[in-house]
């Protein structure tokens, strides 16, 4: 009720102001009546009429035009102080005045309202623009919902906004987060795409009632939101598709590499076993132990290949979680060297680990794997009788390990790529292996929060990796030493 009263007061005050202004102008012109020509007075009267329509609108303008017509006739056309007109020219002036006054009022009024409409449109456009810029690039449904809710709140100045997003992983976003009104919302608009309804916007705003323009704007907001949500869904679907495609590509690469790699040891085993089984090989023949050794070695090789494939698939699927413990690097390297003894007959492996090296927070088994792969890579490519150096030192909060061989250098542009799956510089049939060893190392080192890289050195190739020494905020423990002897 108060609302209606205040609008009424506002409306009537505009008329009163307009008429008051006419009265003022009339009084002013009246003092100059003798000096002015009737036609000139008519022209002068047009100025306030234009101003009135411009400031207070069309209706006060038109009423003022009629009022002016009367005052003009009454005060300025002879005989004064009545509404009769004697001279024919005065009649013409009066009629022209009325027509011109009304036309001006109309024109100014129309201009005025179209200006207001243009301003409103511009504001809407700005708000829409803001919304779409805010939504652009968002691929997370929750952030989209949040932005949308905030913009709806900004534009509507409502008491509360609630976004109800349905479908998979449904959720509700409320603004403000607490103090939701208990009554049903005043206005609900669905967030809809061609595929179906994605949710709805609920708005609580009791007063002032939403205008049709506001409703239209909020509808547009809803469809903008719908588009953003749909886009987010598509982006997710696309990245899922890309992951699948990638894993598909990996699988076919594995298949083609593996079928070659697996068949080589299998052929050896089959050939050796079948010739042992047939009576071609005498029990005391020198070939016998050799064939048996071949079966044994190739079986080990097959086992290693399968192990590498499993490791790789674990790294790929992100389930390779290091089981960290405080370990001694020299112990890890020692057990690797002990196990690789029979492989490293032609090379010399020199280990340089300072006594003062701290404990390192690593997964023992995985680090063994790293050293095994780096060393067997070096053994494979470096010429016989050459030296392989293993060195480690502390570098700030990192431990830096280097495995260096005197093998062939790697072209600069391939230094990064040698850690890619199945990447080989030499043809696959010249060197045995899966092409996975180095990428497994990289996967393990990265799972430990470290970094692995290769570098050409003066006489060969060096692998470097660094690992953090700080584990869950804890530095390597220093341990009590007991010096008392038994």
């Amino acid at each position: 009720m108060t609302m209606r009263n205040s609008t009424f007061i506002l409306q009537s005050s505009r008329y009163l102001l307009a008429w008051g202004f006419i009265a003022l102008v009339t009084a002013f012109l009246f003092t100059l009546r003798e000096a002015l020509d009737t036609a000139l007075v008519a022209l002068l009267y047009l100025i306030p009429l234009g101003l009135i329509t411009a400031f207070w609108g069309l209706a006060p303008g038109i009423t003022s035009a009629f009022l002016t017509f009367l005052t003009f006739n009454y005060f300025f056309i002879k005989p004064y102080y009545n509404f009769t007109v004697h001279r024919p020219t005065d009649v013409v002036i009066l009629v022209i005045f009325l027509v011109v006054a009304i036309v001006i009022s109309q024109l100014v009024g129309r201009m005025q309202s179209s200006l207001a409409a243009a301003t409103a449109r511009e504001r809407e456009a700005t708000q829409l623009y803001e919304l779409s810029t805010a939504l652009a690039g968002l691929h997370d449904r929750r952030s989209i919902a949040e932005i949308l809710a905030r913009q709806v709140q900004d534009v509507s100045q409502g008491e509360a906004v609630e976004l109800n997003i349905t479908g998979m992983d449904a959720f509700v976003f409320r603004l403000p987060e607490s103090d939701q009104p208990t009554r049903p919302p005043e206005w609900v608009v669905p967030i809809q795409v061609a595929r179906g309804v994605l949710g709805e916007i609920r708005l609580w705003r009791a007063a002032p009632v939403l205008t049709s323009r506001e409703k239209r704007l909020l509808q547009t907001f809803a469809s903008q939101g719908a588009l953003a949500l749909e886009r987010a869904r598509l982006v997710q679907a696309e990245s899922r598709a890309r992951v699948l495609e990638e894993s598909d590509r990996l699988k076919s690469a594995i298949l083609s590499s593996v079928s070659h790699e697996l068949r080589t040891p299998l052929s050896t085993i089959k050939a050796a076993a079948s010739s042992l089984r047939s009576n071609d090989v005498n029990w005391d023949s020198a070939a016998r132990p050799e064939l048996i050794a071949a079966i044994d070695d190739e079986a080990d090789h097959l086992n290693m290949l399968v192990g590498n494939l499993l490791d790789m698939s674990r790294i790929e699927s992100g389930v390779l979680k290091p089981k960290r413990e405080w370990n001694i690097l020299s112990e890890i390297i020692g057990s690797v060297l002990a196990r690789m003894k029979h492989l490293a007959l032609e090379h010399r492996i020199e280990v340089d680990l300072p006594e003062s090296l701290p404990l390192v927070p690593v997964d023992y088994v995985q680090m063994e794997q790293v050293f095994t792969n780096l060393l067997s890579n070096s053994l494979k490519y470096a010429p016989g009788k050459s030296v392989i150096y293993v060195k480690a030192f502390v570098e700030g909060e990192l431990i830096h390990v280097m495995v260096r061989n005197q093998g062939p250098q790697v072209p600069q542009e391939h230094l990064e790529r040698i850690f890619d799956k199945f990447f080989r510089i030499t043809a696959a049939d010249q060197v045995t292996g899966t092409g996975l060893g180095l990428s497994i190392c990289k996967g393990i080192i990265e799972a430990h929060g470290g970094r692995l890289w290769a570098e050409n050195v003066s006489d060969g190739l060096a692998f470097h990796f660094t690992l953090p020494l700080i584990w869950e905020g804890i530095s390597p423990p220093s341990l009590p030493t007991d010096m008392e002897t038994e």
């Binding site: 112990e331 057990s335 060297l337 423990p477 008392e484 002897t485």
Partner: protein
Amino acid sequence: MSNAPHILVIDDEPQIQRAVRTILTEKGFRVTTASRGEEGLALAATNEPDIVILDLGLPDMDGVEVCTRLRQWTQCPVIILSVRDSERDKVAALDKGADDYLTKPFGIEELLARVRVALRHSASRQGTQSKVIHAGSLVIDLAWHIVKRGDEEIKLTATEYKLLAYLAANHGRVLTHQNILTNVWDPADANHTEYLRVYMRQLRKKLEIDPERPQVILTEPGIGYRFISDE
């Protein structure tokens, strides 16, 4: 042959059963096979085998569970078989009372070595514990607390000796980190593998000819340690 050691093999893969049975029979053992956990437990109860070889990946029940149930009534040695990368399961089974493990695929020499160690330990449980352990030029006299290389005595700290004595008394067997920490240190220290690592390094420096390539105390990656004696 009736007093030949009796081995029960619980594994669901027929090829493994066949291979293990062929070789163990050839070596003079009596062999019974089971392909399921329940069947294995029933056979163990009726046949009272001298050794159980148990695969951890059985179709009907968890191998660790089989191990736990066996331990409720028998102390017969249990050797577990499992694939690579299942250190957690191996450690669980070992801590539940299994004596040793073998990672598939394994060489038959390894299997026979484990069987020999297991038989010796079940014998020593019945009283004939050897007090002097030889490992290469190393001699450990558990009765007199003396460690020698050749004629030269090696000085060890109290903790180092305790650790070495525990490993040597269980020579040939794998001992998990937790097992060693509980027995040499204190059950409260069972998670401090770093103690073990550091003392092991000190011990190896004194015992091993080349501490960087240990021959006497071997590391079982992710599991624990094993003392290799001459026996």
